[in-house]
Amino acid sequence: MKPLLSIRNLHVSFNTYAGKVHAVRGIDLTVEKGETLAIVGESGSGKSVTSKAIMGLLPKQNALVEQGEILYEGRDLLSLNKKEMIKIRRSEIAVIFQDPMTALNPTMKVGKQVVEGAIGHQKLNKKEANNLAMDLFDMVGIPNPEIRIHQYPHEFSGGMRQRVVIAMALANKPKLLIADEPTTALDVTIQAQILDLLRDIQQKTGTSIIFITHDLGVVANIADAVAVMYAGQIVEKGKVEEVFHEPVHPYNWGLLNSMPNMETKGKLYSIPGSPPDLIHPPKGDAFAPRNEFALAIDYKQAPPTFHVSETHSAKTWLLHPQAPKINYKKVKGDLETELEVKLNHNDVLLKVSNLKKHFKLPSKQILKAVDGISLEIKKGETLGLVGESGCGKSTTGRTLIGLYEPTEGEILYNKVPLNETSKKEFSQKIQMIFQDPYASLDPRKKVEDIIAEGLDIHRLVKDKQERQKKVQTLLDAVGLQSDHAQRFPHEFSGGQRQRIGIARALAVEPELIIADEPISALDVSIQAQVVNLLKKLQKDRNLTYLFIAHDLSMVKYISDRIGVMYLGAMVEMASSDDLYKNPLHPYTQALLSAVPVPDPVVEKTRERIILEGNLPSPVNPPQGCQFRTRCPFATEKCAEIPQWREVEKDHWVACHYA
């Protein structure tokens, strides 16, 4: 059977102010009919550029396809003129974009948007178009389509909007669907819904899907075949089982090993360094400088593609018959034996009781972002805080550090109450690491001045020399080089920037660090670096962490105890092992089951609890148990507010039936 789409030796480059960026450097790909191909890679690896090249959506001013061909049903898409390409885009290939919030036109009714392309292509009249829109809404699981098609995008939640975007893509029954990180902007429980939907649609319509993502768990869930990209090249590709169970490329080893699963203990495997600069792509293997098994030849000559089986191939010299055999599983095993020293945490460092933070909206409504949570953080421990977006976890963190004034409740730090007057004193003891490494560093300041800001504010250094020395020590502590001090933030990669942010927080020698989604904006291989760094610093400096995140497996790995939040309230809190093995609250159970695991066998067989619907608005939360609108076990009793009680030792839950 001829493949639906095949890409041969594609080279794409961009002319930028700084020079020519070789974004895609010779890739070969094929997509069979009815197959889901996942392209995995870090940001900047060229995966989105590839998809745009297929669609003919590369920016004309500065993008250049230097070589190669993209054959779709035997026709080279690169040689088509504008009109023909529009025809292809309209009927044959459709895209689903990453951010459902910006992919829809806010001034147009969704029903009309969905069938806009179809009206012109299939020559539908008004009634037929209406019917088609309703059918599509039905297909993507939007309830009450007859009402919903007449609404505007702002009346839909994020998950629902993504369904609309998918419906829009399906309007002309495309043979190929390109999904560019379609679930990255969504919460785990919504992500599970959307992945389910995509799989379902593929079964019904038999379309092929190119699924672009950086999340290996999602790949394991949905893909038939996988291509791993690094620095503009495909380093390994094959059937999903081959790539996950018999990986051959060291980069793929690193990726698979650096994802913690629910059982990971000890130090995480991490790939050091950052991806290369594609303005001057390195000679030889681009991955060599970060590869602990790099061969001498890797620095001299780029490896060719070696075939392991008919479907499985990789670009690495390690597959050459002369190369030494390396057992990557052993490397992983070594790391796991590293034992963790359990601290004796008995002293309560931070005690929060009945904390509330309400925001007044311009519409005179009150948004209850945090509505009465109580928690204790013990000295030297890591408390994880998880929940979907909008559950109030970030607001909690910001209120604790004093960026927001609490509406009600008490915060005791070392038995001293935290309030407006004592804020400055505490700002030295409590520090924060922010989510977005691109927004959290002042672009006009040198790294040295960014890190030393806390030192200047609290007058912790006497003179310039001491300041300089201190900055050097901090740079060293977070694994950066001393000449980085004189540079500006825009010259660093995401992971390096996040480490600068950590160094800034450490400068004032705090006791408690609130980490607000410190890794969610980073690539997989970089996440492990930062998490390892945080763990090492905790050990060296006896730090206490409040770790806020939505990624349950990372939180499980780093935390001693975990609190689960839903709509501004804490629903369950327990030690991390306890919470994972014995989740009592139905929301926790659903959350755990929604986390994708990077193992195709597990992913494709396990039963998951798919939560119906979306997060209710915190402006008008449900009465009684807030989870009851989505809870599969809800009864009438749930209209009463459940008590926050200790069910087992150190295992707190707010549910009538736990």
Binding site: G273, E292, H307, S427, Q431, M432, Q496
Partner: protein, 314 residues
């Protein structure tokens, strides 16, 4: 599978090529680009814009001439020679003389100096009032912001000319009056721009980080807000200066600005306008200078915006 398989034809490499040498961590963390601050980066970008560089060169030349020009011959700008009224450009009077026999060369550069002086004052006012007003409005937010913005709207609503005419009723026309007129309305644009920028920066994570470190309000505004607004401020200044020059010329031309014997570009144009029929050059010189100034400042401002505004980066 119809891919070419290169590994089929085995090439034998020397054994030592296949030794594990491991990673080169230093390499992957290294940044090879030279250290460039935002300003240096902007300057590099500006240098590539030919129009902006030409503009900058013309501005510098005119500024230099306005300081040196009046002193290269022996005449003062208000020195009348009734025996030499309306003389053609010649060896003694390079650009000729006006109706009182005053040297046009001296008057031209003296006038340019006055015009530039007014432009710089306008820029200073922009900086002092506009930036402070905008920053305070955005930083305080809420009700304060609301009231401050309404005040701005009222000021914008009153036509400039009416304010100036009203001022002339109680004051003598001159530099001070023009200044006052500018004090009342000139800074409004800047205030709005700065407000917008500070509003945006207020919720940036690096500002939050600074607050989390315990920074005082003044430190945040001076240390983080202003440096990040500076690009916009400079660009706006470059647009304010030519419009201030033009306002002065316009006011002087209609007789509400500077009065003779003082010279300014507006006064000179007014003067030349009256003798346009016979002594065309008296109008031409100041007109050329004012056009050159306006065009150059606008070209430079355009170039600066391209160089410093991240949104315009390609």
């Amino acid at each position: 599978m119809q891919q070419t398989n290169q590994s089929e034809k085995q090439v034998v490499f020397p054994e030592e090529m296949f030794k594990v040498v491991g990673r080169k961590e230093e390499e992957s963390e290294k940044i090879s680009k030279p250290v460039l601050s935002n300003w240096q980066d902007g300057w590099l970008r500006l240098k590539k814009n030919k129009a902006a560089i030409v503009g900058l060169f013309i501005i510098l030349t005119i500024v230099l001439l306005s300081f040196v020009g009046p002193y290269v011959n022996e005449y003062a700008y208000d020195e009348a020679h009734y025996d030499k009224v309306y003389s053609q450009p010649n060896n003694e009077h390079w650009l000729g003389t006006d109706k009182f026999g005053r040297d046009q060369w001296t008057r031209l550069w003296e006038g340019t100096k006055v015009s530039l002086y007014i432009a710089v004052l306008a820029a200073l006012l922009d900086i002092l009032i506009g930036i402070t007003y905008g920053a305070v409005s955005a930083w305080k937010g809420g009700k304060v912001d609301n009231i401050m913005q309404r005040i701005i709207e009222i000021l914008v609503g009153i036509p400039n000319l009416i304010i100036i005419i009203l001022l002339i009723m109680i004051m003598k026309p001159g530099i001070i009056t023009i200044m006052l007129a500018m004090v009342i309305t000139g800074w409004v644009n800047m205030a709005r721009l700065v407000r917008g920028q500070v509003y945006k920066l207020k919720t940036q994570e690096y500002v939050l980080a600074s607050r989390a470190l315990g920074a005082s309000t003044s430190r945040i505004i001076l240390g983080h807000m202003l440096p990040n607004t500076l690009g916009i401020i400079i660009i706006n200044l470059m647009f304010t200066i030519p419009s201030a020059i033009f306002t002065e010329a316009f006011l002087s031309f209609i007789g509400l600005g500077l009065q003779e014997p003082l010279a300014s570009l507006g006064v000179l144009i007014n003067d030349g306008f009256h003798s346009m029929r016979n002594q065309f050059y008296l109008l031409a010189y100041p007109a050329i200078v004012i056009v050159a100034l306006m065009v150059s400042f606008n070209m430079l401002a355009d170039g600066l915006r391209d160089a410093f505004d991240p949104k315009m980066r390609k």
